[in-house]
């Protein structure tokens, strides 16, 4: 219980770096605080800036297991928290052949054996260090947020038949959101907030070279330069870090040693996914179209 996740913000930065995740100061500090204060961490930002990756990196850095709850519309208690294994309960009743009394059967079928734990409950019941990732929490319905409240504030789950299950060891909770919907104040109040944006050119270059080994330094610099310029344009979807990395991989696969204008124009589809964005980029960067 007393073991903390990171001993200091610097420690968080070094260990996340060792796990392959390059942080900036604010990210490292917030990750450290989330561990030290034992509060959930809400990470918000555009798609592809490494929100989910942060949770995975924390798990790798701390040697913890990652429990993931992917949110979607229509997610409910039975798939987020726990469910009774009806089929097994039915089998149990039929197997006893009506010899047991009702109260015995009742006590028997509502036990651990017949409980199917879903991500939230299993994260809470684990004794080993656990990172609980609640991904794309903005995709769920408002009711699920209410469900999360109990889990996030007290780290306990109430099962009517079994009583309240409290966490023996609080998991490191990371919630990610694309901000497609405002989360309720109640959820936000319980979380630390971190906004991940696009990194500056230097950090992005470091990320790309660390993720794509074998990329020439010169090409990496050119690539990041183009991406940074693209983000300044008014685009429907600006290229994210994930797309820069994809682009770097593309260049490796095509064995391109120099990122000239023609190459940029040919491979633009990797980073820009709207036709109008591509046209705008060609116009603004004055690319020669072959």
């Amino acid at each position: 219980m007393t073991t903390s996740w990171f001993s200091s913000p610097d420690d968080a930065a070094t260990r996340l770096r060792a796990a392959g995740y390059l942080t900036d100061d604010a990210t490292a500090l917030t990750a450290y605080l989330a561990g030290a204060l034992e509060k959930p961490l809400l990470v918000e930002g555009p798609a592809g800036v490494g929100k989910t990756e942060l949770a995975k990196a924390v798990a790798r850095a701390a040697g913890a297991e990652l429990v993931r709850l992917q949110c979607y519309e229509g997610l409910d208690e039975a798939r987020a928290l726990y469910e009774w294994n009806y089929k097994k309960q039915l089998l149990r009743i039929q197997a006893s052949g009506g010899e047991d009394s009702w109260s015995e059967t009742h006590d028997d079928i509502f036990t651990e054996e017949f409980l199917l734990t879903r991500p939230l409950l299993s994260a809470i019941r684990r004794d080993e260090p656990t990172v609980l990732l609640i991904d794309e929490v903005d995709k769920t319905d408002v009711e699920v947020e209410g469900l999360l409240l109990e889990v996030l504030s007290d780290f306990q789950v109430t099962i009517p038949e079994l009583g309240t299950v409290s966490a023996t060891r609080r998991p490191f909770v990371v919630l990610t959101s694309n901000a497609s919907r405002e989360l309720s104040e109640a959820v936000k109040r319980r979380c630390l907030f971190l906004h991940l944006g696009y990194p500056d050119a230097e950090r992005e270059r470091a990320i790309v070279t660390s993720q794509v080994p074998g990329l020439d330094d010169k090409v990496a610099a050119q690539l990041v330069d183009v991406v940074v310029r693209l983000r300044e344009l008014e685009l429907k979807k600006a290229p994210s870090i994930a797309e820069s990395i994809d682009w770097a991989r593309t260049l490796i696969a095509l064995q391109i040693g120099d990122l000239d204008e023609a190459t940029v124009a040919r491979t633009l589809g990797v980073i820009l996914k709207h036709a109008s964005d591509q046209r705008r980029a060609i116009k603004e960067l004055k690319l020669a179209v072959s």
């Binding site: 450290y32 204060l37 497609s180 919907r181 104040e185 630390l192 429907k236």
Partner: protein
């Protein structure tokens, strides 16, 4: 002032600046501060930000308030004091010459620390306004920027970068960005000094601007407008997500007996689950009529962009712009067109919409009724955008009431505060009697309204 006072004052200031900081969050902040070391100002900032700011648009406001309550340095700092009075008068021609030389160098090298020091010196040396009465600000970012005029260094900076191997356009952009950064540093430093003299509460009331989605269209600067334009697509996406979710929630229409009975066969004839016919989504045919004269052009453009970004939610959208004549601009918004191009062609259409160049609602409405009478039918909804300032001309009220009567719904969005309606040449009250008029001054209100009509 003790640390606790500063903390409480800071939280209070954030609340009055529009951030909803709860008591629990304030306690979290203190808990977080206990866990970090305070040797670095940025650490304290990040700890506060993680616990108090829960929406990214509020970050700008937070940073401004933080800089006032936790200033970078006091007075001119240690380095500033010995440089200040070498010949009694801080602001001399020779000093200005030397200062601009140093500034040009710092801008060329992009040295952040040097720029920050120079900004402090700029305010100390050229921005002081001694001898003004009590209650008036004694430091002025405006005066120091006028005196130093960093924009004049632009050419030199660009030349330097060109020889450094950048192409002309890149150099221009980089130079502009650095000078803009320096301007912001000077403004920040002037705020800091004023806060030091008058107390931070005074300054936050005056200088902290609202977040971008609560900023008035009419009070927006150019840089704000660009930022707002970037907000349009995310806003449209958020609205679209909310709409699909709401439509799904009320998707259950009347009971589908056939499917229910068929499904009940699997459960031995007991209809355990009922099946329903999907409800047909209702879609509006929207006709937008917008005033694009100088005073409200921005507002009209934002609304049009948002409406067209949500095109799928309507069965059809037609847009007309007017000043004193009417022109149709629906074609500008083809699917997949580029935002910048749309804005350019909209700007070009303004010249067509103006015959004499003075806003005339009466004439515009009459022309619309004559030329595009077919646009309004019993299934379409009419949306008028404008401030209803018609230069005291004829209002053509019967024409509008005829149009509104033919349409299924009619709304009027006014970018002015309701207290200005009906003042001067505003005919908001007269028009408001015919068509329900709503206030729409910022992106948040605009989003709410568009969501409602869909």
């Amino acid at each position: 002032m003790t640390l606790l006072h500063t903390h409480i004052g800071f939280v209070e200031a954030l609340r009055s600046a529009g951030l909803s900081v709860s008591l629990a969050e304030g306690l979290d902040a203190i808990g977080a501060l206990e866990k970090v070391r305070w040797h670095d100002r940025e650490t304290v900032r990040a700890a506060y930000a993680a616990t108090l700011v829960k929406r990214q648009p509020q970050r700008v406001t937070f940073d401004a308030v933080f800089d006032i309550y936790f200033p970078r340095l006091i007075g001119s700092g240690v380095a500033g004091e010995d440089a200040a009075d070498d010949d009694g008068v801080p602001d001399t021609g020779a000093q200005l010459e030397r200062f601009r030389e140093a500034l040009a160098e710092a801008l060329a090298s992009g040295d952040q620390q040097a720029l920050q020091d120079l900004a402090v010196e700029a305010v100390a040396r050229f921005g002081a306004m001694p001898g003004r009465g009590p209650g008036l600000s004694s430091w002025s970012a405006y005066t120091s920027l006028q005196r130093v005029s960093p924009a004049e260094l632009m050419d030199r900076l660009v030349q330097g970068m060109l020889s450094g191997g950048l192409d002309a356009e890149q150099a221009q952009r980089a130079a502009g960005r650095r000078i803009g950064d320096f301007t912001r540093l000077v403004e920040g430093d002037a705020r800091r000094r004023i806060a030091e003299e008058k107390g931070p509460e005074h300054v936050t009331d005056v200088t902290v601007r609202p977040t971008i989605d609560r900023l008035d269209f009419t009070a927006a600067r150019r840089s704000d407008l660009e930022e707002m334009r970037r907000e349009i697509y995310p806003l449209a996406r958020r609205l679209a997500a909310r709409l699909t979710k709401e439509q799904h929630a009320q998707r259950r229409g009347p009971l589908d007996v056939r499917r229910t009975v068929r499904a009940s066969i699997a459960t031995g004839g007991v209809p355990l689950t009922t099946h329903h016919r999907p409800r047909r989504p209702h879609r509006t045919d929207l006709v937008v009529l917008c005033d694009v004269s100088g005073s409200v052009a921005n507002f009209a453009q934002f609304t049009l962009m948002l409406v067209f970004a949500l095109r799928e939610a309507f069965s059809g959208v037609r847009a007309f712009t007017f000043v004193d004549d009417v022109v149709e601009v629906s074609d500008t918004f083809r699917p997949g067109t580029d935002v910048v191009e749309v804005m350019e062609s909209l700007a070009a259409s303004i010249s067509h919409a103006a015959l004499w160049g003075r806003t005339n609602y009466g004439r515009a409405l009459t022309r619309f009724a004559e030329q595009h009478a077919d646009a309004i039918g019993p299934r379409s909804s009419l949306l008028v955008l404008g401030d209803a300032r018609s230069n005291y001309s004829d209002l053509a009220l019967p024409v509008l009431s005829d149009l509104a009567g033919r349409a299924r719904h009619a709304w009027w969005l006014n970018p002015e505060h309701p207290r200005h309606w009906g003042t001067g040449d505003s005919a908001a009250d007269s028009y408001g009697e015919i068509v329900p008029m709503g206030e729409c001054r910022n992106l948040a209100q605009l989003g709410e309204f568009v969501h409602e009509i869909v």
